[in-house]
Subunit: 194 residues, 2 copies
Amino acid sequence: MTVMDKIYLAGPDVFLPDAIAIGRRKKELCAAYGFEGLFPFDNEIDPKASAEPADRLIFRANESMIRSADIGIFNLTPFRGPSADAGTVFELGMMVGLGKRVFGYSNVAEDFLERSKQSVGVSFDAATNSWRDANRMAIENFGNADNLMIDNALFDHGGHAMVRHAATPQNRFSDLTGFEMCLRLAAAAVSKSA
Amino acid sequence: MTVMDKIYLAGPDVFLPDAIAIGRRKKELCAAYGFEGLFPFDNEIDPKASAEPADRLIFRANESMIRSADIGIFNLTPFRGPSADAGTVFELGMMVGLGKRVFGYSNVAEDFLERSKQSVGVSFDAATNSWRDANRMAIENFGNADNLMIDNALFDHGGHAMVRHAATPQNRFSDLTGFEMCLRLAAAAVSKSA
């Protein structure tokens, strides 16, 4: 009997109206590539069974699931601004700190600077030779998909750049093309190290 | 001779035009509370000395600094949207994964839901009994300052809720009131465990 590697399925997918269905689909895809998928909604939370607030119970269940996983695949599609969902980014950092292998995808293909130009007021500041927002805060211009900590974490702790796939706007958070590409990268990495 | 605990100073402060000055001020405050402050700009990066891209060198220098720190203090002020800066949130996750003590502050006092109402289109969805954005994605309503992973990470891995201080808009990213409150919490935590 082979023990399957467990993949934590991180992303703002949990906020979708059909979160349970998309979690199920991601887990089916994991199984097709020889992995066990762990989706946050699999955690059973019973707020009535504890004096702790519900959000703390959800946090602890997610943390425990992350610790039990071998690999993480992160949906880093820009979320309510030029960067990825904050909860997902926190979990990416946590898995890197725990020394796990991480892969990520975005369903928007443009660079961070291009997307910042579209979503926040941006101007070029000749004095500092940099792009800055309305608060005069610098905007990174390294050709990355997001903040340099995110893109380089994927490269150094998973071996690959962020997978970028231009999904249609209506499928921005549900398109699984980039997710499946990450699964292929994960399968190749695991077979290489076996 | 006492060895001082090292505090990693995380935040979008690095994007300010006067980033070096604010880093210096934060390090002075650390020293006043008996800590050594580590600011990302202290890392000397020489892109000419390496074939690697500059952003990767910055990532690795920050990662190494984070690993060498005992404690993290995070500026989690909302940044270009309803959530904190993505790089800062990544680093918070990393320090939690590494088992370090974390404290955080925001220079905006309102709850996450209130701020989301101000910055993204939000409406109440009776069918799911939840607030949702224009993409029909749910907005957390737990009374937190940000995504539940962030607020609860601070509580479980530092012992305190996020420090919230209503700074004036022009001092949103430079006000250090909340930062100094975090320093006091860190000093109390260290003296308690000594």
